[in-house]
Symmetry: C2
Subunit: 130 residues, 2 copies
Amino acid sequence: MLIGELAERAGTSTRALRYYETHGLVRAARSANGYRVYDEAELHVVREIRALLAVGFGLDDIRPFVACLRAGNASGHVCPDSVAVLRRKLAEVDAGIDRLHAVRQELRDQLAHAIAHREETCSRLRRTAR
Amino acid sequence: MLIGELAERAGTSTRALRYYETHGLVRAARSANGYRVYDEAELHVVREIRALLAVGFGLDDIRPFVACLRAGNASGHVCPDSVAVLRRKLAEVDAGIDRLHAVRQELRDQLAHAIAHREETCSRLRRTAR
DNA sequence: GGTTGCCTTGACGCCGGTGGCAAGGTCTAG
DNA sequence: CTAGACCTTGCCACCGGCGTCAAGGCAACC
């Protein structure tokens, strides 16, 4: 399988695949003419990468999952390092949710304040207009 | 007031102030030697900018608030354009919260899966080890 | 031989809010 | 006169995951 086919089957671009390779996530053999050649296992690796990226992982976070897959596991999630990353990410997401809740509260307060003040301004304008 | 003093009193850097100026948010008079000169009102503007940035607004979102302040309002939030931005941001934050909740659920599922599989792997390893 | 379509490496662009540095002008105090 | 503490404009670097273009090699078909 060449890079174009892998990209299509994995639902990504050749550019992304080369990028993953430079970051040590994807591996390719080379044919005589220098083309990258992939086997079926690499397709699973790339799909794992894409799935984790979609969830919001960075490439560095993904590395343990790929290593886990390469170690022969059916899922990249089952290795201790992967689980550690999952836990850390979960904590990060929880923190993010908390932060957004705080921001949301702040925004609601400001909105309420703004609307109250707008009413004041409106009535002041009405008085001024007379 | 020169830029250094304004930066210190507003809790930011001179670099940031010049950046805000190039983006039309902060205004400065110039003294004879070319130095930027600010009045007290500009301090409030910069504090408004910093507060909104801290909440997660972009500079473009902040522009209406500054305009509102310059129009003579005590708060930058009371003008219709500001309120519109506040509402939009609130919706965005809500969407972000929803997305993070979905990610969180996904992560929990994957963690549960991983741990279940790890137990399997462990027992398999234990059996293999015998 | 020419065209088409794959592949290769390399390098710049993006986004947003700065940080940092260069090379210079200005003001003040000793 | 000099040191140092301000100020000026301008430009490069950063982060991350690519998109996109450039310039060229290789394969296959007419």
